[in-house]
C-alpha cells in the first residue's frame, strides 16, 4: 500500500476494511437502512405522522377501535386502524417508536459514558481504584438489570413528588436501564484499557511526560471504542427491549405518552377480542426495530473482529 501521495479522506474511507465489509454485506446494509429509516421516521414523527396522538383534542372516542384501512370498516385516514381511544395506530407507533428509541439511546449513552469512564480509569490507574470500581460493578451485576429497573422505577414513583413523577417517568426509566448497563461497558472498557495500557505507544506517551488524563483521553479512549461500540449497539437493542418489558409490566412509560412497550401492554388486552391490530403493529414495529439494530451489531462484531474476517 505504498502510494506517493496520501489518499484523500474519501478514498481512505472507502478503502477502510470495515466500510468495505459493510458495502459487501447485504444484511448489514438492509439492517442499517431499516435502522436509519426507523430512527429518522421516529425522530421526525411530528412531521410524518398524520395525527398527533399526544394532543387529546385531536382524538375522538367515536373513532375508537377502527380496523386498518384495507379491512372492512376501516377508514382511509387511519391506515393501520385506531386504538381503543380513537388514536391513529400509525401515528401512535411512530411517536411510541420515537420514545422507545430515545429512551434506548439515552439509556445506552448514560451506561456507556458512566461505564467507559469508570472502566478506563479502572484499567489505567489499577490498584485500589480498580478494586473499588470493579467491586461496585460486581454488586451491580448481582442484581439483575430488569429487577433493578423495576425497583428503581418503584422507588422513583414513590419518592418523586406527584407533579414531577409524570414528567420524570421517562428519565427514571432511562436512569434505571442506563444504570444497569454500565458494568458491562466498564468491564469491556477496562479490559481494552488494560490491553492498550500495556502497549508501547502508551509507554511512549508516558515517557514524553503526558499526564494520565491526557493519555486516557487521547490515546486509550479512542482505541477502546471499537469493542465499546459493538456492546453499545447490542446494548441499544437490549435497552429498547428492557424499556418495552418495563412498560409491558406497567412499570415504565405511562400510557398517556406511550412507548412501543406501553402500546403492546395496552394492545395485549385486546388480543382475544379481535382487535389484533392494536397489539400486532406495535409488536411488529418493536421486533423489526430491535432486529435491525441487532443485525447491525452482529455484523459489526464480526467486521471488527479481524480474526473472523
Amino acid at each position: 500500500m505504498q502510494q506517493d501521495h496520501p489518499m484523500t479522506r474519501w478514498e481512505r474511507f472507502k478503502d477502510n476494511d470495515i466500510v468495505w465489509s459493510f458495502l459487501h454485506s447485504p444484511g448489514a446494509i438492509v439492517a442499517a437502512a431499516i435502522t436509519s429509516i426507523a430512527i429518522l421516521a421516529c425522530l421526525f414523527a411530528p412531521l410524518i405522522a398524520p395525527f398527533d396522538p399526544f394532543d387529546p383534542s385531536q382524538i375522538s372516542l367515536w373513532d375508537g377501535k377502527l380496523p386498518p384501512a384495507w379491512i372492512e370498516g376501516g377508514q382511509p385516514q387511519y391506515l393501520l386502524g385506531t386504538d381503543n381511544q380513537g388514536r391513529d395506530m400509525l401515528s401512535t407507533i411512530l411517536y411510541g417508536g420515537r420514545l422507545s428509541i430515545l429512551v434506548g439511546l439515552a439509556a445506552v449513552c448514560l451506561g456507556m459514558v458512566l461505564g467507559v469512564t469508570l472502566g478506563v480509569i479502572s484499567g489505567y490507574v489499577g490498584g485500589v481504584t480498580d478494586a473499588v470500581i470493579m467491586r461496585i460493578a460486581d454488586v451491580q451485576l448481582t442484581i439483575p438489570g430488569i429487577l433493578l429497573a423495576i425497583l428503581i422505577n418503584g422507588i422513583g414513583r414513590a419518592f418523586l413528588p406527584l407533579e414531577l413523577r409524570q414528567e420524570f417517568a421517562i428519565y427514571v426509566v432511562i436512569f434505571a436501564i442506563g444504570l444497569t448497563d454500565w458494568p458491562q461497558f466498564a468491564r469491556v472498557a477496562r479490559g481494552a484499557t488494560m490491553v492498550e495500557a500495556n502497549k508501547e505507544y502508551v509507554q511512549a506517551a508516558r515517557i514524553i511526560g503526558l499526564p494520565g488524563w491526557r493519555i486516557m483521553l487521547r490515546h486509550i479512549l479512542p482505541n477502546t471504542l471499537r469493542p465499546v461500540l459493538v456492546i453499545a449497539t447490542i446494548g441499544l437493542a437490549l435497552a429498547i427491549i428492557a424499556e418495552a418489558t418495563l412498560s409491558f409490566l406497567g412499570q415504565g412509560i405511562p400510557p398517556t405518552t406511550p412507548s412501543l412497550g406501553t402500546l403492546i401492554r395496552v394492545g395485549n388486552e385486546y388480543l382475544f377480542s379481535g382487535l389484533w391490530w392494536i397489539t400486532f403493529f406495535p409488536a411488529i414495529a418493536l421486533v423489526v426495530l430491535v432486529f435491525a439494530v441487532n443485525l447491525l451489531g452482529d455484523w459489526m462484531r464480526d467486521a471488527l473482529n479481524p480474526k473472523l474476517r
Partner: protein, 519 residues
Amino acid sequence: MHFKKLLTVSVAALTVANPALAENVLRWTSQGDALTMDPHSQNEGPTIAMNGQIYESLVTRDAELNLQPELAESWEAGADGWTFNLRKGVKFHDGADFTAEDVVFSFERANHEASDYKEQAKNVTSVEVIDDHTVKLMTDGPNPILPNQLTSIYMIDKGWAEANNVVAPQDFKAKEETYAVRNSNGTGPFALVSRAPDEMTVLARNADWWGEGMFPGNIDKIEYRPITNAATRVAALLSGEVDFVLDPPLQDIKRIESSDGLGVKTVAQIRSIFFGMDQGIDQLRTSDAEGNPFKDAKVREAFNLAIDKAAIQRVVMEGLSFPTGMITPPGVLGNTPENDPSYGFDPTKAKALLAEAGYPDGFSIQLDCPNNRYNNDEKICQAAVAMLAKIGVKVNLDAIPKAQHFPKIQKRETDFYMLGWGVPTLDSHYVFSYLLDGEGSWNATGYSNPRVNEITTAIVTEIDIDKRTALIDEAWTHVKADMPYVPIHHQVLAWGIADNVDIPIAADDAFRPRYAVMK
C-alpha cells in the same frame, strides 16, 4: 427418524385430555386469590368470596340480593337490638354443633382489635344468649338496617378456635401466621381440601350441609385458580382450562360469546364510577389557575357536560355500562328514576359555562386515576382527558395502581380523581357517610352541605321507613343540584361461563356455588 417418532408420541401423551371424571368439578378463576382463610382477618373482595363458600353468616343474600336466612332462620327488630332464631342441627365441618355460644364468640372475634370487620361488627355492641338457638344482638339505639350489615360476618366454631389458638384473628403484629390462615372449619356447603395460595385452592362438597337438597347446585368439587393477567384469564377460558371466569375484560366479552361452548352473563352491578372535584381547598395543587375553579358550580357543571358518557359506554365499555347522573346505582335505597339520568353531553354549553366562570381558555389540572381497580378505569380516564381537552381543559393523567391511588383520596391530596363506590348495605347511608358527609373518610371533594350532613346523621336512627326514604330523597336532590362529583356510569358485571354449567349472576359480583348446576 426415531426422534421424530418419539416426539410425536410424547406430544400425543401430553395433549391427551384429563381422564373423564365422574364427579362434577367446577374449575374457575378470577383476578386475585383470597389473602387468608381466616374469615375475620381481611375485609377484601376475593377473600370474602372464597370464605363465603366455606363459612356462613346469620343472614345472606341470594343471587337477586334479597336477604335470605342462612344460619338464622328468622329475625325480629326491637328498640335496642334484633333477635335471631338460629337454625337447628347445623354442624361445622369437623362435626361440632353450631350454637348460640358460637355466635357470641364470632361477634367477639369480629369485633377484636385485629379484625378487619370491626366497622360492620361494631353495630352489634353485645350478644345476649337467650337459649342455645336464640340470640339477641344488642345495638346502640335503634338500627333499622342491622341485618344488611351482617351478611359478611361469618360464624366460626368457638371450640375449634380455642383448640387451635386462633381466638383472635391474625394480626399484622404477629410474627407467625396462625392456624386459621390455611385451615378452615365452617358450616358452609363446601369444605377446604387443599390450598396453595396464588396457585390452586380445592374445595369439596360438604355432604352434611344443612341445605343439602334445598338448593339447585350439584357441584362436587371446586378448583379455584387465580389469574392476575386479564388476557391470560380469558385464554384459560377459551382454551377450556376453566369453566368460569368471574371477571373477563369487557373487550373480550364478544369473543367469549362467539366461542363454541362459552357464554356470557351480565347484570347491572351495585357500583358507580365517577370523578371527584376538590371544591373545598382554596388553591388547587396541580392547576395553573388562580384559586380553585371548582368552587364555581358553573365549572363543575361544565365538567359534567363535557364528558360524553354515551361514547364511553359504547367504545370504552363495549356497551356494558349504564350512564348516570348519580353516584349510586339502582337497587340501592335512594336511587330514583328522576335523579338517575345523566347530566347530558353538551360541549358547546360546557365551553360557554367555563367562559362565564372566567376561564374562556380553560386551565390545566391533574387527574388521578387507578389502573387496576374498576372496569377499564384507566381507559375511561384517558377518554375523559380527550373530552375535556375539547373544552380547553388540559388534563394530565396519572394512572397508578390502586394501592397508591386510594391513599391520595383518603389523605385528601388530590384535585381531581376517579373513584368507584359499591354499596354492600344497599342503603344510601353508606354513600352519604363516606362520600358526601363533610367529614366522610372517602370524601376528598371538600363538599359539605349542612343539610346533607344533617340527614346523614338523622337516618341512622330513623326507624320510620317512609320518613327515612323521604329524607334520603331530599339529600339526593341537593347533591344532584350541587354537583360535587361527575357521575359517569354504573358498572355492568359480566361473567364468562362455559355452556356446561349454569351459574346465576349476582349484582354484588359474588359467586354462589350453591346455585351452580353442571349439566
